[in-house]
């Protein structure tokens, strides 16, 4: 790939305790273009969450190269990352608006601008009118939408999502998938989306990277050739089945 936004070359990450060495990722090479929504899919223990932490700069990798950013889009690792987790992890004692502003506060961005932006983002994720509510007054899906707004408030260039809809019920999850695609298109961010939902990975991703365990490695990486905006009936198409089948096969689940 020419001028990738994320470039991983032979990345290896080992966790060490006193007596055990555990290879969390082995020899992963992967390029991601700017503005892609790449799904990282695989079973538990395949190293996908570890890869996300390496990308976030939270865990140093042991071998290989990790490069984020390019000439046209420089990347500042301390400012340009937004994170969404499986749990919304909103601060219980803050109103939704104040929760969304948290990253801007940590970065010391101008308050007034952050407030405006938080408001706009809450509007975008469909939480207009909930600015002054406390998290416990919102449903799980709504809380997760607030968490997504929080990940966008400091206008980062890269959004890392670790199974963000894994704790939601199936129907809310599908709805959130559609909304995420909408948010992605409006915000034009590069998104790395970790999931163990195979259908979800194909439905959301412009690309899918499949990881397999023992040893943890990148098993496949392909483009999902469906146009945007996507609708749920995409899942009934034959081509969609071909993609999911390909992943099931790789993971030995046929």
């Amino acid at each position: 790939m020419e001028n990738p936004f994320i470039s991983l070359k032979n990345v290896r990450k080992v966790y060490r305790t006193r007596d055990i060495e555990f290879e969390a990722i082995n020899n992963v090479s992967l390029d991601v273009a700017e503005g892609e929504l790449i799904s990282l899919v695989g079973p538990s223990g395949c190293g996908k969450s570890t890869l996300l932490k390496v990308l976030a700069g939270l865990h140093p990798h042991d071998e290989g190269e990790v490069n984020i950013g390019n000439q046209t889009t420089p990347f500042d690792p301390s400012k340009d990352i937004g994170m969404v987790f499986q749990q919304p992890l909103l601060l219980k004692w803050r109103r939704i608006q104040e929760n969304v502003q948290l990253p801007a506060e940590i970065l010391g961005l101008p308050k007034k601008a952050a407030r405006e932006r938080a408001k706009d983002l809450l509007n975008m994720v469909g939480l207009k009118g909930f600015e002054d509510k406390y998290p416990y007054e919102l449903s799980g899906g709504m809380q997760q939408r607030a968490a997504i707004a929080r990940a966008l408030v400091h206008d980062p260039k890269l959004i890392l999502m670790d199974e963000p809809f894994g704790a939601l019920d199936a129907m809310t999850r599908e709805k959130m998938n559609l909304e995420l695609l909408d948010i992605w298109q409006k915000s034009q961010k590069t998104i790395v989306f970790v999931t163990h939902g195979i259908q979800e990975a194909v439905f959301l991703g412009t690309h899918v990277a499949v990881m397999s365990p023992s040893p943890a490695r990148l098993a496949d990486h392909f483009k999902v050739d469906f146009p945007h905006p996507r609708k749920l009936d995409m899942k009934t198409q034959k081509k969609f089945g071909v993609y999911t089948r390909r992943i099931y096969d790789l993971l030995g689940m046929d």
Partner: protein
């Protein structure tokens, strides 16, 4: 206020009135002599006896309870914060403090008197000692109760340790701090009174011992009611403070 809240208040008022009425009825219909148990009214009437110096004793006991309690909150939370900042201090001191917690604090009182002579200050120290541990232990637990993913979120933005502490750890620990503080209110009252039983020259506990000698049970019961009142005021203030600082959802009832 909504109907449910009024209902709650009504029930609380009624049960309290009911309790006093039951007490009253038991004394009257059971023909209990006054030196065994006075009626509520007989107890209240003792407030008119000037020799009893109620105000002096009330203030002395309040000073012991509030003084020791506030000291325990400040030092207890302070130590917990220190432990959360320094893992070495935590590892070194925490097991020791757990052991020290096993010392029956009341049994320390005679020693405190040897060390500190007697007076209100000594009773403040006794009250402090008995309140300190539940506040410390609860706060320590609260400080540890931070979601690792939330720390990742702050760290991915190069957030400082201070930001983590002020924005996440401390407000997150508040419900735990209040939980410890509520437990300590009861202990504070007991601590001050035991201190006065062992040594003192004033205070409601001391006053109870003095009036016991003359079998003035009505005054003893009144002193007990006043001690309870101090406890209730303390507990009420803590609840009000909690209501102001902790969001409803996070409160530990």
């Amino acid at each position: 206020m909504n109907a449910a809240k009024w209902r709650k208040i009504a029930i609380i008022t009624l049960t309290h009135i009911g309790f006093v009425a039951l007490w009253w009825a038991a004394v009257v219909f059971g023909e209990v002599p006054e030196y065994i148990l006075p009626t509520p009214w007989q107890a209240l009437k003792t407030l008119e006896v000037e020799n009893y110096n109620w105000l002096t004793h009330f203030i002395a006991t309040s000073q012991e309870i509030f003084g020791g309690y506030i000291l325990a909150v400040v030092v207890g939370v302070g130590f917990a914060v220190l432990f959360s900042w320094s893992k070495a201090t935590d590892e070194a001191l925490m097991p020791l403090l757990v052991t020290l917690n096993m010392i029956p604090k009341v049994a320390m009182a005679p020693l405190f008197i040897v060390w500190l002579r007697f007076g209100i200050d000594t009773n403040i120290v006794i009250t402090f000692t008995i309140c300190f541990f539940p506040i410390l232990l609860n706060t320590v637990r609260g400080m540890r109760e931070v979601e690792p993913d939330l720390l990742d979120l702050v760290r991915s933005l190069n957030g400082s340790q201070w930001q983590i502490f002020t924005k996440i750890q401390l407000p997150g620990a508040l419900p735990f701090i209040f939980s410890g503080m509520k437990i300590a209110t009861v202990l504070a009252v007991a601590g001050a009174i035991v201190g006065e039983f062992i040594q003192s020259d004033r205070g409601l506990g001391w006053f109870m011992l003095i009036t016991q000698e003359a079998l003035n049970t009505d005054a003893m019961v009144m002193a007990l009611l006043l001690v309870t009142l101090i406890g209730v005021i303390l507990y009420g203030l803590v609840l009000i403070l909690e209501r102001m600082l902790v969001v409803q959802d996070a409160r530990m009832e």
